[in-house]
């Protein structure tokens, strides 16, 4: 039985700009928004859009991601036919190879896609926070009679040169593609989400593979080749919340925006578009008699006895009496001991911050850094971590790191 559309999710990115957070896990597995991981967003979008077959292309540090995805049950993607499959590079009779680029990753899994004989394939990116109805995108693709469509966002003109830009006519037909141009002719930034007719995609993947000079990349090779051949290419306008969380500051910012869904952030409180995740299974959180909690998000299993202000606390975080947490993203299982001050920073999973230690600082005129503590790190009593620090190793009591 053929599937109308299946999804291929690019999750191989190392996320090197997230430094301490991606030492041991791939970027799509980075925790987000209190109880989610980044990959929950594209996966939930798929399920909510009616896509029941998803291939996840992994390469870098896949262990956490593999375990997290499991059989796909939390996303309702444990199916008899289809469902979610993690696809690492593998050995074949003709030899084996790492995924050389985004296009090559799909090329190496042509046989996976053909098992489902789909009409359309949607290519997704595992490093974006976004709620998007892919079925509406597909409707657009079909209505336009497109062979290739790309989802685009309007960005401010002065920022346009940071993006891959689609130049389109009044019918949304793409006429030109500019990759990070000095003089942008358009402000329609590619979101890295594509729908292809499968026959077209396959033809171009095979062709691209045969080209020894190709970087095997969608943006640099496949899309320019489609344009060269005058294929039917259309730009689908998306105007919801979308954030690429590829850097520490954008990840921190996107988390903070969750606290204000009415104005800036993604709305996680949407019964009609739930974001699914693998659950911690912890019991309800507890706010102590002397605790103060202001404008924050608190997840199951937390124990709060200190002062938490404008922060996001993931499952099982403990904040001891007298500790202060402000503008912070604190991931699961972290313990913040008595009197510690944790501000304007990202603290990864299972960190211990010792008594009276200071991590990060509220931004000042010249200093807007987001301090980052990697997972499993121990920060000793009274240690001081500066606002630009990126902590990968334990810090002894009383020491400083800037």
């Amino acid at each position: 039985m053929a599937k109308e559309m299946i999804a291929m999710l690019l999750a191989g990115g190392q996320g090197s700009r997230l430094y301490a957070l991606t030492q041991k896990l791939a970027k799509p597995a980075v925790p987000f928004g209190g109880k989610y991981r980044i990959i929950d967003f594209p996966l939930s979008n798929c399920v909510n859009s009616g896509i029941d077959t998803v291939g996840i292309l992994t390469q870098y540090q896949p262990l956490v991601l593999n375990e997290y995805i499991g059989n796909g049950q939390p996303w309702d993607l444990d199916r008899l036919y289809g469902g979610v499959h993690v696809l690492p590079p593998y050995q074949q009779a003709s030899g084996s190879d790492w995924y050389k680029g985004t296009a090559n990753a799909i090329y190496q899994n042509i046989s996976f896609i053909e098992r489902y004989n789909p009409q359309y394939v949607i290519i997704l990116s595992g490093d974006q926070i976004c709620k998007q109805d892919y079925s509406d995108f597909l409707r657009f693709h079909k209505e336009k009679g497109a062979e290739f469509s790309v989802a685009v966002m309007e960005v401010p003109w002065d920022e346009a040169s940071r993006f891959g830009l689609m130049v389109a006519d009044e019918n949304d037909k793409i006429t030109e593609f500019q990759e990070k141009p000095k003089n942008p002719k358009s402000n329609l930034a590619s979101m890295g989400i594509y729908i292809f007719n499968w026959d077209i995609l396959k033809k171009y993947l095979v062709e691209d593979e045969a080209d020894p000079n190709s970087e095997n990349d969608f943006g640099n090779n496949i899309i320019p080749n489609l344009l060269r051949d005058g294929r039917n290419m259309y730009a689908y306008h998306f105007d919801g919340y979308w954030k690429d969380v590829g850097t520490i500051s954008s990840l921190w910012e996107a988390n903070m925006e969750v606290l204000d869904p009415e104005h800036s952030g993604i709305n996680l409180f949407d019964e009609n578009w739930k974001i699914y995740s693998r659950n911690s299974g912890m019991t309800g959180h507890k706010i102590g008699a002397d605790a103060v909690v202001e404008n924050s998000m608190i997840t199951d299993g937390c124990r709060i006895h200190g002062h938490v202000k404008h922060s996001i606390l993931f499952a099982g975080v403990q904040v001891e009496p007298g500790a202060e947490v402000e503008d912070a993203v604190v991931m699961g299982g972290t313990v913040i001991k008595a009197g510690a001050v944790v501000k304007h920073c990202i603290v990864a999973e299972n960190v211990v911050i010792g008594e009276n230690a200071v991590v990060g600082a509220m931004p000042t005129e010249g200093e807007k850094g987001v301090a980052t503590i990697g997972s499993g790190i121990y920060i000793g009593d009274g240690a001081k971590i500066g606002p630009n620090a990126m902590v990968n190793n334990n810090v002894k009591g009383g020491e400083e790191q800037w």
Binding site: G33, G34, K35, Q73, P74, L259, L268, F269, K274, I275, Y276, S277, N279, G281, M282, T283, G284, H285, K286, I287, G288, A289, D290, A291, V293, E294, N295, S296, M297, I298, T299, D300, R303, I312, L313, F314
Partner: protein, 380 residues
């Protein structure tokens, strides 16, 4: 084969003691009463069994079990979706001549054939009116070591006041034990003694074949209660072992105790005791984390995921998806899932069932000894 599992199957009686809390079981049964923020009563015994390697659990239901079936589903959350064993819900056979069962004897006789086909050597049985992190494996091991025919778990606690004061037995029987060197010498039925007693938890370990034999005999004689009609009269013939449970337990015996047992979990010591050493599993709802909006004031609160708090909350237990609007004041309350407290409303000593709405500006106050209860889907 590697033997990682307990050599026992589990049987739960989800309807036992329903009549103690008539308000809460209007459209459900004891097992599906919401408790402790995100759980249902059944989760505790069920999870305890699973955590001890019991992966064949039957629930013999009697009535009002839709909510329980919805909660348990295929048993996946408890890791009981198994090809062999797993979760097994046994509803009563709808025959004209068969009445819905009364005691455990009738309940068990309805699954005698099933019991005969099983392979486990022991059977553990429990009700769902007690929330505890119970170590069945320890009890089974002690049962084996003692060489007893039957083991009964008991705790040293007071008989609930409501049970002591009740004059009829329609609320269900309760038992205290006289234990000497681990052997049960006497079983008292519905005693009225004050002070700490050896209160039976109605948790039993018995040999499977022994159980089949006893139930068969008892059913033929028209008996209905396992304790009263089988164990108690044969104390001289059988070796009955008392297993002392010293962990934390919450027993639901009436509305007041329901309120108190929820409130007791605001003490971290009690919360940790109930939820350790092993996790308690429950149905997943995929709620977002709880959000405290600017202006919210919270003191001594346990809340599950999915709440949105804008008002003032003190000394309360909030279940999943509770909304407390701006200016609302909530004190000493137990608010079940998806309760909405409207803007400026004031509530104290209130228990709301699922999906209750307290409209803006309304005041609802109970007292310490008599909390007000608002039923499912009601709008005040």
């Amino acid at each position: 084969m590697v033997n990682s599992n307990a050599n026992a199957l589990g049987i739960l009686f989800p309807n036992s003691y329903d009549s103690l809390v008539p308000e809460l079981v209007g459209e459900r049964l004891m097992a599906s009463i919401p408790f402790a923020g995100r759980y249902r009563m059944v989760d505790f015994m069920l999870s305890s069994m699973v955590n001890c390697g019991i992966d064949n659990v039957s629930l013999i239901v009697r009535k009002n079990y839709h909510s329980l079936m919805d909660h348990l589903g295929s048993g996946r959350e408890w890791d009981l979706t198994r090809k062999n064993g797993g979760l097994n819900i046994v509803p009563p056979f709808a025959e004209k001549t068969v009445k819905v069962y009364n005691g455990r004897v009738e309940a068990l006789s309805s699954i005698l054939d099933f019991l005969k086909d099983q392979k486990q050597q022991y059977v553990v049985m429990a009700d769902t009116n007690i929330a505890a992190n119970f170590d069945f494996k320890a009890m089974i091991n002690e049962h084996i070591k003692s060489g007893a025919d039957v083991s009964i778990a008991y705790a040293k606690v007071e008989i609930p006041v409501s049970a002591r004061q009740s004059t009829n037995i329609s609320g269900g029987l309760y038992y205290t034990l006289e234990v000497e060197d681990g052997d049960v010498k006497e079983i008292y039925i519905n005693p009225k003694d004050e002070g700490i007693q050896n209160c039976s938890m109605n948790i039993y370990v018995v040999g499977r074949e022994f159980l089949i034999e006893q139930i068969h005999d008892a059913f033929v004689k028209g008996y209905s209660y396992f304790e009263r009609d089988i164990v108690a009269p044969q104390l001289d013939k059988l070796k009955v072992h008392g297993y002392l449970f010293e962990g934390y337990l919450a027993r639901i015996s009436d509305m007041k105790s329901y309120f108190d047992e929820n409130m007791k979990l605001l003490d971290d010591k009690n919360l940790d005791a109930l939820f350790s050493p092993n996790p308690i599993y429950t149905k997943i709802r995929d709620d977002n984390p709880t959000r405290y909006i600017q202006g919210a004031v919270v003191k001594n609160v346990m809340a599950a995921d999915g709440c949105v708090i804008e008002g003032e909350v003190e000394n309360s237990v909030l279940f999943r998806g509770v909304k407390v609007a701006k200016g609302a004041i909530v004190k000493n309350c137990v608010l079940m899932q998806d309760t909405v407290i409207g803007e400026g409303a004031k509530v104290e000593y209130l228990i709301t069932d699922k999906n209750v709405t307290i409209s803006a500006g309304k005041e609802v106050k109970g007292t310490d000894t008599f909390p007000v209860y608002v039923a499912k889907y009601q709008v005040v």
